[in-house]
C-alpha cells in the first residue's frame, strides 16, 4: 500500500524580552547558573507572578506576523507535572484560552506550488529551568539552573498540514523569517531560541483519516527536523506494513545515529485555570495599535522592491527573506547606489565575505556607508571592478575610508588618455598579429589587446578608455 505522511509542528519560540515573563529577572542567556533568579521565579512561598506587559506585546506581534487572530480574552492555566526543572509543580501556559487562533503562512512545496500552512493557535507560556547532569566522582548528580525558569515563550501549533519533510522544513524557514522580522526573537535552532517538536502519523495516500501520531523531539536544526520526520515516516510505514499498530508516544531524535528512540513519558494532567494571573483582555484598539507597530513583512517588502527598484520577483524575494540583508540593501539605496549594483555587490560579494569571516551582517565592519562610498568610486570609473573587490577586502581589516585605501594602495584607475597613449603604442608595436586580426574584424583580438594594455598599466587603466583609444587608433 502507498502511504502518505500527516505532519504537524509545535514550535517554541523564546521571546527576546528584557525580563522573564512573571518577574523582573533578566532574560539573559549564558550567564553564571542561578544568578538571574528571585523569589518569584524560584517560586518561594508567598511569591506571586506579575505578568510582563512586554511579553504580551512581543507575543502579540508574533501572532500578528503569522496572520493569526488575537483573542479578546485569553488566560493562563497551570500545566501540572512534576519534574525538578519546574519550580512550582506546574507551568503557566495558556491551555484553554490561547492568545491567538488561526493564521498561517505561505510556503512553496516541492513542485513549486504555493501552499498555505495553517496555524491552529499560538499560546504563551513560561520556560522551565535547565537540568545539567554531571558525575561527582562515581555519583551521578543533577544540577538545576533556574536562570531559564520563567523566561517568556510562545508556542506556535500548526494544523497537520505538511505531507513531507521538505514542506515542514520550508515552513520552519518561512516562520523564522516572519518572526525575525518582528524583532521579537532571534528564532535560532542553534542556540535554542527556536525549538521544534513534530507530530507524525501515516495513512493510505488519498484518504483523510487521522491516525495515531508519534511526537518527535530533540532536533536542533531545520535539517534535523527534516531528517527526523523522514526517518519516522519510514519507520512507521515499515511497522504498519509488518502488521504492527502505531501507539501514541514520544520519541527522541538521535542526531549521531540518525534514528528516533522512544522516551519515557512525562506525568502530565489536564490544566486548571490559574487563580493568580489575571485574564488578558485585549481591546480592538489595543490590537490595532499592535498591528500598526508591525513592520513591513517580507512579502510586502519583496513586492515593493519589484515596484520601486525594478528587481525581478526572485531577486526581491531573496533580498527580503532576510531582515538584515533587506535592511542593508535599502541603506545602500539611500546612499544613492543603483538598485541592481547594490543587490549584486551585497549578495555576491559582501554576504559571502562575511560568511567566510563568520560575521553577521549586523556586525559587519563594512557598513552600508563605507560600501556605498566604494561603489560610488566604481560607478564614477575612479576604480575598476577588480580594484573594488580588492578594496572590499581591505575594508574588513582597516578602519580607513575606501577613498584613502584606493589612494594609498594606488588603485585609482588611469583614464588619462595621454598616459594611456604611450602604453597603447608599446602594446601595438609588440603585438602585430593581434593588430592584423583586429583589422580583419576579429573581435576576440580586440579583447586580447585591451587585456595587454591593462596588464601594462598594472591593472589600473580604465578598460573603457583603452577600448575607445584602441578603436580610434586601429580604425585609421
Amino acid at each position: 500500500m502507498d502511504f502518505e505522511a500527516v505532519i504537524g509542528l509545535e514550535i517554541h519560540v523564546e521571546l527576546n524580552c528584557t525580563t522573564k515573563m512573571f518577574c523582573d529577572c533578566p532574560n539573559r542567556y549564558g550567564d553564571e547558573p542561578n544568578i538571574n533568579t528571585c523569589p518569584v521565579c524560584l517560586w518561594f512561598p508567598g511569591a506571586m507572578p506579575r505578568f510582563s506587559q512586554q511579553a504580551l506585546e512581543k507575543a502579540s506581534l508574533v501572532c500578528l506576523a503569522l496572520g493569526a487572530e488575537l483573542q479578546p480574552r485569553s488566560a493562563f492555566d497551570q500545566k501540572v507535572y512534576y519534574y525538578p526543572d519546574l519550580p512550582k509543580g506546574f507551568q503557566l501556559s495558556q491551555a484553554h484560552l490561547p492568545l491567538s487562533r488561526g493564521g498561517g503562512i505561505y510556503i512553496v512545496d516541492e513542485n513549486g506550488q504555493p501552499k498555505r500552512a495553517r496555524l491552529h493557535h499560538v499560546h504563551m507560556e513560561e520556560d522551565v529551568a535547565k537540568l545539567v547532569h554531571e558525575m561527582e566522582g562515581r555519583l551521578p548528580i543533577s544540577l538545576v539552573d533556574f536562570n531559564r525558569a520563567g523566561t517568556p515563550l510562545v508556542e506556535i501549533v500548526t494544523e497537520p498540514d505538511f505531507r513531507s519533510p521538505y514542506e515542514a522544513m520550508e515552513f520552519l524557514k518561512a516562520l523564522r523569517t516572519q518572526v525575525r522580522y518582528t524583532g521579537c526573537s532571534e528564532c535560532s535552532m542553534d542556540n535554542g531560541t527556536m525549538r521544534v517538536d513534530a507530530n507524525i502519523s501515516i495513512r493510505p495516500r488519498g484518504t483523510s483519516q487521522m491516525n495515531t501520531k508519534v511526537e518527535v523531539k530533540n532536533m536542533n536544526s531545520v535539517r534535523h527536523v527534516g531528517d527526523a520526520i523522514a526517518y519516522e515516516i519510514t519507520r512507521q510505514t515499515a511497522a504498519v506494513q509488518a502488521g504492527e499498530t502505531v501507539i501514541l508516544h514520544t520519541r527522541l531524535w538521535d542526531p549521531d545515529k540518525k534514528v528516533t528512540t522512544p522516551m519515557r513519558a512525562k506525568f502530565e494532567g489536564p490544566c486548571v485555570p490559574d487563580p493568580s494571573v489575571p485574564a488578558i483582555e485585549l481591546s480592538a484598539e489595543w490590537i490595532e495599535n499592535m498591528r500598526s507597530r508591525l513592520p513591513e513583512m517580507p512579502a510586502a517588502r519583496a513586492e515593493r522592491f519589484v515596484k520601486q527598484h525594478g528587481l525581478t520577483p526572485e531577486e526581491a524575494r531573496f533580498l527580503s527573506s532576510d531582515l538584515d540583508v533587506a535592511g542593508y540593501f535599502e541603506a545602500l539605496i539611500r546612499e544613492g547606489i543603483a538598485p541592481r549594483t547594490a543587490m549584486h555587490w551585497l549578495t555576491t560579494q559582501l554576504v559571502p565575505a562575511l560568511k567566510e569571516r563568520q560575521l553577521e551582517l549586523g556586525a559587519s565592519p563594512v557598513t552600508p556607508a563605507r560600501l556605498a562610498a566604494l561603489l560610488k568610486m566604481l560607478s564614477k570609473d575612479e576604480i575598476n571592478a577588480n580594484a573594488a573587490r580588492e578594496v572590499l577586502v581591505h575594508l574588513f581589516d582597516s578602519g580607513e575610508t575606501p577613498e584613502a585605501i584606493v589612494t594609498a594602495k594606488g588603485f585609482r584607475q588611469v583614464s588619462d588618455t595621454g598616459a594611456l597613449d604611450a602604453l597603447i603604442e608599446k602594446v601595438l608595436a609588440a603585438q602585430p598579429t593581434a593588430v592584423a586580426d583586429v583589422k580583419k574584424g576579429q573581435g576576440k583580438a580586440m579583447g586580447f589587446l585591451v587585456g595587454q594594455v591593462m596588464q601594462a598599466s598594472g591593472g589600473k587603466a580604465n578598460p573603457k578608455v583603452i577600448r575607445e583609444l584602441l578603436a580610434k587608433k586601429l580604425a585609421t
Partner: protein, 405 residues
C-alpha cells in the same frame, strides 16, 4: 532592644519590636500574625513540615504596610497546617492573653471568623481582591484572604484601611477604585437584612434558637429582617471542596524539596527523593486534601469543571439576593478547639456556614454577642467590596449590644 522570647503555648515566635519612630495611624498598635504571613527573617513554617526551618526572605505587602503605618508586630501564633481549618491553631490566643491588640489570620474557609467566635472578638474577612496576597503562604489562592481579629472595631477598620488597596506585587487585585473606609451611618429604617433559609438547614437544635435570638437583636436595633430562599446554598460546600482541593494540590506542588524544605534521605533518584520528601512534608489532613485535589484534577476533571460552573452560578445567585436586601445574616457556629485530629468531612462540617464567602469573595464579619444576648454572635455579609458599609453596620450593632455606648 529586641530579643526572642521563648515560644509558648500561643506564640511560636515572639519578637517584640519597638514601634516605628515616625508616627502613623497604627502607631502603638501591637499586632500578632501567623507564620504563613511573610515577615523578613521570621520563621515562616506555615504550620507545616514542608517549610520546616524556612525563614521569610521579605515582608508580605500587608506586613510592609502595617510597619509603615507605625504598627508593631509582636510575634506569630501557632497555626494549623497551611492555615487550613483550625486544628492546632491558636488564632485569637494572643488577644485572649492580651498580648496583642489585633491578629491577622488567613481566612480560606472561615478560619478568622471562627477563631474570632471562640475568642469573643470581631473577626473580619475582607472582599477577595481588596488586600494584597503577596507574601501570604496559602493553599487556595482564589478563596483565601487576610482576615483581621480584634476586640476593637476601630482597630479592625484602621488596619483594613492600611492594608487594603492596589499592590504592584499582586496583579490579581482588580484595579478598582480605592474604597472610602470612613464610618457611615446605616439607617435601620432604610436597611433590610436578609436570611437564607437553606443556610439554617441542619443547624444543631440549640444553635437554631441562638440564631433566632440574634435576629431578635437585629429587630430590636430597628432593622427589618427578611427571610429568603436560595436553594443552591447547599452547593457551597462541595464547590469549595472540589475547587479548593484542586487549587491546593497545584499550589502545594512547589514543595518539592529542591530549593527549600526538608529533604528525606534514602531516595535512589530524583523521583524517589520527591516522593519520600513529600511524604514527610504534609500532615494527614492536608495530605488527604491534596490527594482529593489530585483525584479531581486527574480522574474527575469534569467534576472540577462542573464545580467551576456552579461557582459562577452561586456568585450570580448571591449577587441577586444582595440586590433585594443590603446585607445578609448567617448563623455563627461555635467552634470549640478540639484535641482529636479532624477529618476532612469534619473540617468541612465545621465551616459549613462560613465558607460561602470564600467561594464568592464577599466580605464577611463575625460579631460577638452583646452582654446579655442569648446567642453566640452573628455573621454578616454584603456584596463584594461593600466592606466599608459592612463594618459600619457591625460597629453600630456592637455599640447597641454593648449598651449603646
Amino acid at each position: 532592644m529586641t530579643g526572642d522570647i521563648l515560644p509558648d503555648s500561643v506564640f511560636i515566635h515572639r519578637s517584640p519590636e519597638t514601634a516605628a519612630s515616625k508616627g502613623g495611624p497604627l502607631r502603638g498598635l501591637q499586632i500578632a500574625i501567623q507564620p504563613n504571613i511573610s515577615a523578613a527573617g521570621w520563621p515562616t513554617e506555615a504550620g507545616s513540615n514542608a517549610l520546616a526551618n524556612f525563614k521569610s526572605l521579605e515582608d508580605a505587602t500587608v506586613i510592609r504596610r502595617l510597619r509603615q503605618a507605625g504598627a508593631s508586630l509582636c510575634g506569630s501564633t501557632r497555626m494549623s497546617e497551611f492555615g487550613f481549618g483550625l486544628q492546632g491553631s491558636q488564632a485569637g490566643g494572643a488577644l485572649q492573653d492580651q498580648a496583642a491588640d489585633a491578629e491577622l489570620v488567613l481566612d480560606m474557609m472561615g478560619e478568622s471568623r471562627l477563631a474570632a467566635g471562640r475568642t469573643g472578638v470581631c473577626g473580619f474577612k475582607p472582599s477577595w481582591g481588596l488586600v494584597s496576597r503577596y507574601g501570604l503562604i496559602g493553599l487556595i489562592p482564589s478563596m483565601e484572604c487576610c482576615g483581621i481579629l480584634s476586640a476593637s472595631f476601630t482597630d479592625v477598620r484602621e488596619i483594613l484601611k492600611v492594608i487594603a488597596g492596589p499592590d504592584e506585587l499582586d496583579f490579581s487585585l482588580p484595579g478598582e477604585k480605592p474604597l472610602d473606609f470612613s464610618p457611615q451611618n446605616i439607617d435601620p429604617k432604610n436597611t433590610t437584612i436578609g436570611t437564607i433559609n437553606e443556610a439554617q438547614d441542619g443547624l444543631p437544635a440549640g444553635q437554631e434558637e441562638a440564631f433566632r435570638a440574634s435576629l431578635d437583636d437585629l429587630n430590636k436595633a430597628g432593622f427589618a429582617v427578611r427571610e429568603m430562599s436560595f436553594p443552591d446554598f447547599p452547593l457551597f460546600s462541595p464547590v469549595h471542596q472540589i475547587v479548593g482541593s484542586v487549587e491546593a494540590s497545584s499550589a502545594a506542588g512547589r514543595y518539592d524539596s529542591v530549593r527549600y524544605g526538608p529533604r528525606a534521605a534514602g531516595g535512589k533518584n530524583w523521583n524517589e527523593m520527591y516522593l519520600l520528601s513529600r511524604a514527610i512534608a504534609f500532615g494527614p489532613l492536608v495530605k488527604s486534601y491534596l490527594f482529593q485535589g489530585a483525584f479531581f484534577q486527574f480522574e474527575r476533571y469534569e467534576a472540577f469543571e462542573d464545580a467551576c460552573r456552579i461557582r459562577a452560578r452561586l456568585l450570580a445567585g448571591m449577587h441577586a439576593l444582595t440586590s433585594h436586601v443590603e446585607f445578609l445574616v448567617f448563623p455563627a457556629v461555635e467552634a470549640a478547639p478540639s484535641t482529636t485530629p479532624a477529618s476532612l468531612p469534619q473540617t468541612y462540617a465545621q465551616f459549613a456556614s462560613t465558607l460561602f464567602a470564600n467561594v464568592t469573595g464577599q466580605p464577611a464579619l463575625y460579631l460577638p454577642p452583646g452582654r446579655s444576648a442569648g446567642h453566640s454572635g452573628i455573621q454578616l455579609t454584603g456584596p463584594r467590596l461593600s466592606d466599608a458599609r459592612l463594618l459600619s453596620l457591625g460597629e453600630q450593632l456592637l455599640h447597641l449590644g454593648r449598651g449603646g455606648k
